[in-house]
């Protein structure tokens, strides 16, 4: 697993796996680094210093929310557009429009709150990622082409189709569980963060932090510890994969708006693009499938995503209707 030499402070500080060990949130990395340190005692001083720097201080970050950012962007965009066209009229029109839009928004929020026992469903389109805050304080990031439903009076039991990342708030007082239900299994949770993906007729669960139990459709129970990744299909009545993930970003980076590829073949990487944006992938040249790609591309902007892939692996990608056609340059 060791990929490089660790000689100076920076080597440790910028290493994702080392950070995981310090923060104790990935079983594979924890085991690896305990072993590594025991065998490299001469580096102990550096390790301690790096650990101290990573732990450093913790803050409750209070960043402005997405809605506010979207609003500020609208303001800026209208200024930019106003400068491009006839200045005054456009601005006035946009201002009137935004007043109307905000009234409409307020009315719809009002309706939303009136219906408190009804079923709530959040749906995303291709290339769209949204954050949902549940009533109990849990955070859900819903990936593209996915849906999440729950009853207003029972928000700790959610149905998922597609992919979502959960950060579940622990209810210490009541010890109430949190449930995620899919076609293949249900996930039983106290307080923790994990990723669930039901795309392609199976359910993949990746646990980043805490501990969870899976209740598979066939009746079996399975306990997961941080770093575990389990893929199960009820159709096949079979666990397809059960392994530890070395770099959690490969499973969860989509929630921060980027897809993360680490030494993946272009074929597998484009599979992820297909899942995220809803394009069909056509390889004109079979050789292109095996090119390896490493890096991060955006999960919500197909144009920039295509450009980034083209540049990094030297292929040409042409968008034709619902297809992405890949060929050698």
């Amino acid at each position: 697993m060791i990929k490089k030499k660790y000689n100076n402070l920076n080597d440790f500080l910028e290493d994702a796996s080392f950070n995981n060990w310090v923060l104790q949130n990935n079983a594979t990395d924890i085991h690896f680094w305990e072993f590594w340190i025991a065998n490299n005692l001469d580096k102990k001083e550096l390790v301690d210093k790096a650990k101290e720097l990573i732990l450093g201080f913790s803050f409750k970050t209070d960043f402005v929310n997405k809605e506010k950012v979207a609003l500020e962007w609208q303001k800026l965009e209208s200024k930019i557009l106003a400068q491009k066209t006839i200045p005054k009229r456009k601005v006035r029109f946009l201002r009137q429009f935004s007043v109307a839009a905000s009234i409409l928004l307020l009315v719809s929020i009002g309706f939303y709150f009136l219906n408190s026992t009804s079923k709530v469903t959040h749906k995303t389109n291709f290339g769209e990622i949204i954050n949902i805050k549940l009533q109990d304080g849990s955070d859900v990031t819903l990936n593209s082409n996915s849906s999440l439903s729950y009853y207003k009076n029972e928000s700790r039991k959610v149905w998922l189709s597609g992919e979502a990342f959960f950060q579940v708030d622990k209810k210490a007082a009541t010890n109430a569980k949190f449930w995620v239900l899919t076609d293949d299994l249900s996930v039983e949770v106290y307080g923790t963060s994990f990723n669930v993906n039901t795309k392609k007729n199976k359910t993949d669960v990746f646990l980043e932090e805490g501990s969870i139990w899976l209740k598979l459709k066939n009746g079996a129970d399975k306990k997961m510890i941080p770093g575990n990744y389990i893929s199960y299909s009820a159709d096949k009545n079979k666990i397809l994969e059960d392994k530890n993930i070395f770099n959690p970003a490969t499973k969860t980076s989509w929630k921060d708006g980027s897809l993360f590829f680490e030494n993946l073949s272009l074929e597998v990487a484009m599979d992820k693009i297909e899942e995220t944006y809803g394009f069909s992938i056509i390889f004109k040249d079979e050789n292109c499938k095996n090119i390896l790609i490493t890096g991060a591309v955006p999960a919500t902007n197909i144009d920039i995503c295509i450009k980034a892939i083209e540049k990094s692996v030297d292929v040409a990608i042409i968008r034709q209707g619902d297809n992405l056609i890949i060929s050698k340059k």
Binding site: L53, G56, F59, F63, E72, S312
Partner: protein, 187 residues
């Protein structure tokens, strides 16, 4: 891990791609907003200057130089932009601000989180202790642990070399640890 996205966003922006600019805006606005709030302590000033700052970037996009990572550039230029406005509005006490590189960040009791080692403090006391640190140590702490920048990026923002960033952070951690051990002696 190199972020492919940054480089291409920046290039697309230079070509006037509004779509790319909106992605860039959405990814950096929240961090710059709280950075601005820390410096100016005013929501209105922060939001106004951010609007003007991003508009300024878009207007002079053709003159921007190529970048591999965007964060240090945005943090540095926004800070400079904001300080200029604050100086004009006489929000700064020192009129001679051109020589002042470091800004004075204050941490609130609500935003500090105690860990095992610092659990001996109440949040309020920990924030007081942090605020007593020299201003450059506080800025480094803020950029690293609040904004989540890398040491190499902080060195660009603060205009000091990589080793100095690491030393500055380490010094802050050490002096806090000393305070803790003194406190433990008396408790």
């Amino acid at each position: 891990m190199e972020k492919l996205t940054d480089k291409f966003l920046w290039k697309a922006l230079k070509e006037g791609d509004l779509n790319a600019f909106s992605v860039l805006f959405e990814s950096y606005y929240p961090q710059l907003h709280s950075y601005g709030l820390k410096i100016s302590k005013s929501n209105v000033v922060t939001e106004d200057t951010l609007q003007d700052f991003f508009l300024y970037i878009y207007e002079r996009r053709e003159n921007l130089s190529d970048l591999d990572t965007i964060a240090p550039y945005l943090f540095t230029s926004y800070k400079r932009f904001l300080l200029k406005v604050m100086k004009k509005n006489e929000m700064l006490k020192h009129t001679d601000f051109s020589n002042e590189i470091f800004i004075d960040i204050q941490f609130t009791a609500e935003e500090v989180i105690t860990n095992q080692e610092t659990a001996i403090f109440k949040n309020r006391n920990l924030s007081l202790l942090l605020n007593k640190l020299p201003s450059r140590q506080k800025e480094a702490i803020y950029l690293k642990y609040y904004s989540g920048l890398k040491a190499s990026e902080i060195s660009e923002v603060m205009g000091i070399n990589y080793q100095s960033v690491v030393n500055t952070l380490h010094k802050a951690i050490k002096s806090l640890k000393e305070e803790i051990s003194i406190l433990k002696l008396f408790s």
